[in-house]
Each structure stands twice: as C-alpha cells, then as structure tokens.
Symmetry: D3
Subunit: 133 residues, 6 copies
C-alpha cells in the first residue's frame, strides 16, 4: 500500500534507466529496491536523491560504511520509518554487522530513547561546559 | 529553566553521594553534569539510570565508545532533545571525534532525515528481500 | 489491525448517523472512511472531531483547500502517521494536486526533514532578527 | 548555546565567501543567518546544503514560494525544531503571509497534530480506496 | 523569543477579554499564561482552543484531573514541547502530584521511550491476540 | 515483517527460558508476546528489558497499574509505535480500562497533540511562574 503506483515500464524513461543502471553497478546487483522505483515518478527527485545517497553513503569518507549505516538506522528507528529501518538494517547486515553489534546498537538506541525522555521531562538547563558561545 | 529545583545539599543523601562518587571515578573528573544532579530527586531513578548508562556506554562492548556516542547523538538530534545533543556532542569530542567525522555524522543524519520523509510520504511497500517472516 | 472493532450497525445510533449523513452530504459521496467509522465508538469524540475538521478544512478560509491539504500531509508525514498520509494524499489528489505539485511538496518536506536535523544537531542560536520579544 | 563555535574570520575561506556572497545576492540583503555561519565549519556541507535550499526554495517551481514556506513551517513545528520555526516563519512573513493566513496555517497544523494522534491511537486500517497496489 | 508579539492592550478586544475572564474564573486566579496571551492574535483560534481545553481538562469525565495532566505531560515530553512540559508539570503539581508520583511518571515515560525504540528497531509483527479485525 | 527471525527453539536457551517462565508466572498466562520472543536473540537485552518492565509496570508503586498503562499508551501513540500501541492498549483493557476511559484518554492525547503544535508554532516564552531556577 502506497500513495503512488509504479509504472510497468519505468525504465523506458532514459533518465530513470541511467539512475537504475548506476544503482546496479554501484551495488553490484540487479536488484533495485522500492525507494528508487517509486521515486522514479519524478526523474529530478530520483536523480538528486540518488546522487546524495551515493555521495554520502558510498563515497569513502571520515566514517566507515558500517558506522554510517548504524547512524542511519538510529535516525530511522527514532522517526518510526518502517521502510527505512528494514532497508538500512538489511544494508548494515550486508556490510558485516554482527549479532553482537546489532544488540549493542539496540542497547544504545534504547538507552538514548529513555534518557531523551528524562531530559525532556525535567527540562534540564544545559551545563555551561557543554556550550561554545 | 527546569521543572525541578536541585537541593543545595544533594550529596548529603548517601545513595546520591555514592552515585556521584562513582560518576566522578568512572569519568576521572570532579564535574557531575545536570542530568545526574536533577535525577537525584529520586535516588532509585538516579541509581538505575546511572547503572544502565555505565553498563551500555562505559563497559567495553561490540561497538567502540565513539561509535556509541555518535549513535546516541543521532537519536538525540532526531528527538530534538537539546540537553542530550549538547552533552553527547561534548562527550563525542572528548572521545576524539574529529571535525571531519562530525561533518560526516551530520551528513548521514541529515540525509536520513530527508529520506525518512520521502519513504513516509510515499508509504513504500517493504521489499520482500528486506524481511524475515 | 486496529485497537477497536467497528460494530456492524454503527449507523443505528442516531448521533452517529447524523454525523455520517453530514460527511456524505459535505463530500458528495456515499463513502465514509475508517477514521469516522472507528471514532463512532464515542459519539462525542466523533461529533467534535468532525465539527473541527469541517470548520478548518471545508469552510472557506484564508488558505485554499489544496494548500491546506498539503500542509496536513506535511505534518502527517513528519509524524509517520500512515493512515493520515494515505487519506490526505488521496484528498489532495481529489482537489487537483498535480504530479508536479506532489513532487514539489516532497522536495520541500524532504529538505525540511534534512535541515531540521542540521539545526537540531548544531543547536543553532536564533538570530535576533527572527524574534519578537 | 550551540555545539560549535563560529570563527571570527569565516569569510576568509574562499569557498565559504562564495556561498555567503551568493546568499546575499539571491536574497538581496547583507544579512547571513546562523544556519549558514555555523555550517561553514565544513565547506562541503555548506555548499551542498545551500545549493539544495536554493534549488528547492528559490528556483520557480510548481508551488509558489509562500506555500513552500508554509509547508516548511509545518514540518519544522512537528519536529519541534526551534531555529527552523523561527527562521521560516520570518521568511513566510517576508513573502507576504498575512495574519489571517498564519492563523489558518496554525489551525491546520494543530488539527493535523490532533487527528494524527487519533489515527495512531486506533491504529486505523487503511481504506482500500486510498491505496494504489 | 517567539514568532509573534503580544499587543499591550490585548484585553481591549471584547472576545479576548471574555476568554481571559473565563480562564480567570475557571482557574480562580488572575494569572493568564502565555499560551492564551499569544493565541489572542486570532480570537477564533483563542476561543476554540480554550473551549476544547476547558471541555477536556476541566469538565468532570471518566478520568480524574491529575491522571489527565500526567497523560498530557507524557505526550508533551515525547513531542519535546518545552512550553507544554513546563505548563502541564506545574498544573499537575497544583493538582497534587507528589514527588513519588512524579518519579513514577518519569519511570514509565522513560521506559516507554526505550521499548518504543526496541519495537521500532525490530519491526515486530503484531501478535494476533492484540488485534480486532 | 521484521528485521530478525525468531528461532524455532528459543526456549532451549536456559536464560531465555528463565525469562519466559517468569513472564508466564508474573502474568498468569502461557502466552509470551513477540516483544520478548524477538528480544531473545540477545539474552542480556532480554533479561535487562524484562527486569525493568517488571520493576516499573508490575511492582506496586505510587501510580496504579491502569494509570501507568495509559501513560505508556500516550508515549507510544506520540512515537507512532504501532506494536506498542497495540500491546499496551490490550494491556490497559485487561486491567479494566472502560470504553469511557479510553475515549477520555484519546481526547486528552488528541488535545495535547494539538496544543503541542500551537506552542511549538508560536515558540512561546515560558512563564516565569512555571520555572524553578
């Protein structure tokens, strides 16, 4: 159930096909997941979103790929984004996340959910040592 | 501005003092931040929260301490928990987070915030390859 | 799957029937969607909710009906309210939202999701030109 | 109070200066707000964020500029992003939002906040007429 | 800092004065808090919001006044609504919330924040015994 | 659909079996819901989570069991945690929540969702009478 339907022949559109081909080559798989198939309704949105995902998540950077996936999962869980939790948990596993790392990730995310509530409840004043201006 | 006031002499309470002493020894500093000073209104809540923070964030585990802080930051940002963002960003810096890592953290968190909105907007069906039952 | 069951004969209740009749006449359709069918378990809640929805969304006001639906969608997406995203996206389409407008809506919502994360991450001080006291 | 400090001479960095100059020219004002001044700690993040904001919010598109600001406000309110609510409410006023439109915006956002809670509470099944697959 | 300024003479407007008088009489105090003073920019919004708050929170109903305030606090904490946490925690205290009840409230809210994250992380299938259709 | 699969023989693990036995005895039922069956992938996480749920929700405390369930529901609805809304609404019903109480709960939660948006929209300054420092 979604708010859009995907056309049977989305890859007939040359800009869509170019993005899908780049996804397939980048990930070394024929599979293109629904995020991209549904975004294809607007080639601009498809292109700009894929360009950013590739730049942030695929291009080597200061954080390693698995750490980036776990941060992505943390945001997605907190936003209750079901699709995103599924897709990024799968991605983290494919990048080598062990069961022990997954359990640790859940422990930190759960603890943060808890202490965020406590800090919000008490409306804690921010310690001056934590600030910069 | 908070919903509680902190008593001048909170450390007169022996259970509060014991927790504060353990925080000071664990962190090798005399400073005890407001989270603990305000939680001290209920020694049970103070003890159980510190015990869990220590077990999850201090005890060596499958993820390294800096990765855990960055995951904590990701949840806190998404929950718009001002105190938590300040305290855990400071903690991550004290554990060695570089400016390049911080910029990378923000890039991933910002991108997740964006694609979470897109997935929620389109109500994407979950690809069967992402599921387990 | 819901937390309530809908009685077979909800319209036997005269206050429920009156609300459903008004929904049908206002929208010029026989269809009454699940929001109202489930709220019927408490006629007061049904009446007051419909009265407010009608006053805000149907009565002519400073913003046009399609703009109001898109604002409704923006809140619903951010709250990850699956039912609300579905029902208000359908409503916006029935009020003439084009594919180009929908893509633009998604672009703004996605960008806001991203920059909200950046502002929350950096805990930006509010520029004095933005404030009123 | 923020998690970063802004260097006195941020515009000495040529890439930062180029973005600031483009912001000033695009908005026809000397004022550069804190979002950009703090993002300048990482010129890549500054450039890519400004490029996207300019493309989505400044370039003419299917939705008019004021409608886009109101959608931005709706997301920011729902995310409790204080900085974003302030900056985009100011932007909407500068684009002509009247008091009557602002009141209407608040009415829709408040109603959506309310009915999102009701739909989430009852876990409403999605009416089949609202779906596409 | 807010997005509106409050006029010096807001009570010169007869509809605003009528609402403020009713707030004062209902609460048996001369004090009118900022929620109402700022909402006064639009008398319709002021009247309808006060009418609903009075009906739900003041009129005797199935739940007692203190329980309703604690539920209000729970939502406000989770939404990170700083003003709302402050005002409703003050209201709960004025209705007799003890320190032990406040600590218990925080324990439940914190635990829910934690287990919500775990359930969202694992994307748990809903047990059939919990559903109604 | 979940991010984990549950092993057929989870209760062969002695620590898992001990927790499940305690759940069954505490609740006086053979049924163990999915939260616990999925958490069993990590016995530490299972044990610590159940220990906390039992301490907060089962052990007699300042708030009665039904009030605690309604507060839990309020957080879960606001976080859009589908599983949690289902399980805690079922728990509240089993602890005697009447239809009138449920309607009242929804009225308060919906009103809080609405006024949280208004307070966040206007960025209300906190009245000094609400604060403690």
């Amino acid at each position: 159930m979604s708010t859009l339907s995907v056309s049977e022949n989305i890859e007939n559109h040359p800009r869509v096909k170019a993005v899908f081909d780049d996804i397939r080559q980048t990930r070394q798989t024929d599979f293109v997941n629904n995020m991209w198939r549904y975004l294809a309704f607007d080639p601009d949105l498809l292109e700009s979103t894929w360009r950013e995902v590739k730049a942030v998540m695929v291009t080597p950077s200061a954080l390693d790929p698995l750490t980036k996936e776990m941060i992505y999962i943390a945001v997605s869980i907190t936003n209750a984004c079901s699709y995103c939790v599924h897709s990024h948990t799968a991605a983290a596993k494919s990048k080598g996340m062990s069961a022990a790392q997954y359990a640790d990730l859940l422990r930190v995310i759960a603890l943060a959910g808890k202490t965020n509530q406590l800090a919000s409840a008490m409306q804690l004043p921010i310690d001056t040592v934590f600030t910069h201006d």
